[in-house]
Symmetry: D2
Subunit: 338 residues, 4 copies
């Protein structure tokens, strides 16, 4: 950490800051310049609350030098993380993975029909939500564990893996038999109790970026899972909130190369939530793969207009098929397969 003192800071103020730094367990190197004094703190600063120093008298500003995440940092595993699933599908490797399915699990028929088509089109994962706490108390609330069981059977029949959102600690245990990849939604990105428990789970986790979260905060949240011993974390960009209202969110495609530079974790693009509009899903899926995404997560439904939730952003299966043809070409442009 670097503490810059104000130009007029007194010796007393400087000593007080040095003392506070030492109390926090860091070694202090002082540089007294012609204009101002700089204090460099070396040591275990990751858990030090820097804002505490900003309000000390005479302090101009305080900067953290070391990145606040360690396990998620690229330096921890420079070659990058590849997560291998039981059927041999990998996320983070040469092949770009595909996760597709409806927003909500609605029926056995829906899941089997979807599984058959998405497998044929080229997906490796079947997605579907079982818990749907909706903004209206009267809207469809999800099928729960019985729904997950349907999804699991449909996936098994077609050699697919399953991914579904976990919303509470109490859901982890009952979901375990049916889910290959736990999804943490954007609203739970900083639900640290849930993340800590998932750090104990023996299944990989797909962690979605919150709509107001910085990339650094996303990496810090992944660190929370990894600190528990679960290193199989996949990150997901799904749109951030900006002043632009033409799309529901602004999908931050640049987060994909930035995360590849800062971290070794795989990163997935979700163009369905990133745009909220069916006619924007294909262009943004293509953009994500072109920018280097390790997988895409797409909402598809055999009868998209009648989907119980997120109908407006859900692709028809034929649209998904056409999109996959385009993505395969783009993957070759970035030295990957699909």
């Amino acid at each position: 950490m670097i503490v810059s003192m104000q130009e007029k800071a007194t010796e007393e103020q400087i000593y007080a800051v040095i003392e506070t730094m030492e109390e926090a367990g860091v070694n202090v190197h002082r540089t007294t310049g012609a204009i101002q004094t700089i204090l460099a703190g070396v040591g275990p600063t990751a858990n030090v609350d820097l804002s505490k120093f900003e309000v000390l008298p005479g302090v101009l500003n305080v900067i953290r030098i070391s990145s606040p995440y360690k396990l998620a940092g690229r330096a921890f595993r420079p070659e990058g993380t590849v997560i291998e699933f039981r059927n041999g599908v990998k996320v983070g490797g040469e092949q770009v993975a595909v996760m597709a399915g409806p927003c909500s699990i609605e029926s056995r028929e829906q899941m089997f029909a979807t599984a058959a088509r998405v497998k044929a089109i080229g997906a490796g994962f079947l997605r579907g939500g079982a818990f749907k706490p909706r903004s209206s108390p009267y809207a469809f609330q999800g099928m729960g564990i019985p729904g997950l069981q349907m999804m699991y059977e449909a996936a098994q029949e077609h050699g697919l893996l399953t991914v579904s959102e976990v919303m509470e600690i109490a859901q982890i245990e009952p979901m375990l038999p049916y889910v290959d990849l736990f999804q943490v939604g954007a609203r739970n990105m900083q639900n640290f109790n849930l993340l800590r428990e998932l750090g104990q789970a023996r299944k990989p986790v797909l962690l979605k970026r919150g709509i107001a979260a910085t990339i650094e905060e996303l990496l810090l949240s992944s660190e929370y899972i990894m600190a528990g011993g679960n290193y199989e974390v996949i990150l997901c960009e799904r749109g951030i909130r900006t002043y632009e209202t033409a799309t529901r969110n602004t999908m931050d495609i640049s987060a994909i190369p930035v995360i590849h530079k800062l971290s070794h974790l795989p990163i997935v693009g979700d163009p369905s939530h990133g745009t909220g509009r069916r006619d924007m899903v294909a262009p943004m899926a293509r953009a994500a793969v072109a920018a280097g995404a390790d997988a895409i997560l797409v909402e598809v439904h055999p009868n998209a207009d009648k989907a119980a939730s997120d109908a407006a952003q859900t692709l028809y299966l034929d649209q998904f098929d056409e999109l996959m043809g385009q993505l395969r070409v783009i993957a070759t442009a970035v030295g990957r397969t699909m």
Copy 2:
């Protein structure tokens, strides 16, 4: 709802939209202009998913006319909501209420010392956090229910009310005996399961605005609590995320008059989280009262620099005393007392 068709929309497309609107249970009035066709939908549209219509062929855009919240709307109770607590303190009335205390409950001594001073200075509520899921797993995690008990006893001794954050449904029941006002934090503003349960609780709720939430979304979340029968909701502005980095958040003071226009619910200003800096707390507390806030929520600590959490934004008790003197003058300027 109003659906505007594109200029080149065909009759077939228009009929398909009318049909979908009727399926959603709304009556359709059609206006065929020289340039484009407008479809007005009248009926129970509050729960209709409008984005579904946006992606229908030939549609230019779709607009919700009626506000999506009803119980929270100003029209529901034009005279405004005043919440009266057991010791006679009111929020939403002529007097501006004051809620003060440390971020975290740390010890019995701390709570009794704080209670004595904040009561003497003029507060009506003692605040303090018992559950502290921190971003670092090694940081202080809060004292839990025993801490709440200490806060409650300190408050009782000095005739104060208590306010504390509830983070999970399981905490509601054990917190009930010790808390006069349940606080829902910014990260839980859209935790609909928690809001629904609080709709059943027989205690008022202080609902904080999420850092990426619009005012409309805040009102929708309050609606969730009220739909359960609990009409005693107090809203709280505590800063939104913007591109500016000089402050941790940008406290949206204009949300105070906007909410007073749109809703009958009281609105509180939290300048501690709104700025994250001790030296900004007093100016922003003054601004909140000047803009019409019904209460202020301030972090204070007998030894602010040593607070177990949020030290940088916590006022010393003497600073709080001085601030209260300024606020009393400002309150008179807006026709209130303090």
Copy 3:
């Protein structure tokens, strides 16, 4: 326009609003519902200041139904605009155009060396800035018209077109002989006097989106140029300001398909300014083409590290060559050539 009255609005208030609407020259259709009254205004509302109605007593909200731009709207030219330049290069057609060159024109040698390489690699336009009002008064301020002349000669020698930024009305006339495409920078997107003058110019205009401009505002600015009779406008996405600090701006890739839906004008992606970092330029250029951009605008320099301005975001020519190979593959995926 649609004016929704508050539930408690009086007849007097409603009449006052109707009167004000009629004064503005619109015909009013009134719908009196069980809960509230809706007033639909039909007529020439494009130039009506809607905010005037929002503050009338009894008004809940006011919405513009018709889009505020006409000439820029997709309906005006549903087949899309294709701009053909003197050497046969087109922007908006099947081929994705390429504009490349240094941020600043520095010397005759630099421009001739750059022109030779970018032509060989596949660009159709040579770019270079002649006027550089820098944030520091001591920094390099650009070579002015003599610099443009150098760029023009280099472009002529290699069969390239030229594009350069115009910053003031007084520059239009002297620039005319040397520039095939006038660029309007992000800071001038709402310099309406400049846009109006360019509406009189007989050369196409590349209009960059301001860093805080909505897509609607960008289209409104293009309307300003077209209103003067110059219909040859190309739009450009170059990053918007968001709360994320990992990149200088957040390049809004979704603006590309959104603009293609709303407007007939071609849209260009500028990954250099969109990211501000050389290592992010290639992924974002690929994303732009994958999302459907009609052209890309890239900063390249024979000696990128020593560029007089924007060094950090400038590609080496070999990097540009490699990027073009990837882009050609991606173009085929979206049915285009490059």
Copy 4:
């Protein structure tokens, strides 16, 4: 400046960075830690382009320690700047100044009527716009210099000062006789050529913050004027663009105390543009004074609903009178007069 190297950075990479720093004219202090190497650069770094270093191989990140502005910094004049005008009115002193008038100068009658009332109510400055480049080419474009002359005569008659917006360099000279305070609008905050010319003018400048500008960028722009020798700069907060759509802009009240901490320049609050709604002007004007603003700038009009521009945000003179009564009370709470 501080350059942090990546953990795996090689000695060669470190030497290359040191060399580039020395070329930029800074002295380098190297600290080799157990994990990473830190390079501290001391010297004239204000004009060094830091992003150049960020893309060098092996660099993790680069941070500017010294603030990039000098003349605008608080340290330059710790006691604060007070600007005294010819009639004895001061901005930045104990008294909070008031600037009021219509958005546009419309007629001699309007200006004389306004001047008489605003003087009686307590304003020190008469404001009015003479140049109005509107988004529609058909809207009112302003009265130009003859309008300024009317405003000046009305101000003279009532002992008021005048403030009006300058939009182009060519307007400075003809405006000089009629204007006591040049206003630079939000869209021109980074029009560096205009700022440089105003640095030569012998009249104070009111510099408005751009809607996407950080506080640091605002201070950098003020530096541009001061670098020319004109130290009489007044800053103005008038709302920033955020995701919230309930108000046209989000007025950043916290910018007032932040600027008072960082800079010695006076800061004005403009609640008319900050909110865009007449019913929000009074609460936000009160908030600005409560937060410590040195002046307020308010749009008023004898017949607000019929104002030629900005009607929706313009106060009636009676509303302004009532507001001034409230502001006088609030001013006393912060130790000032009004």
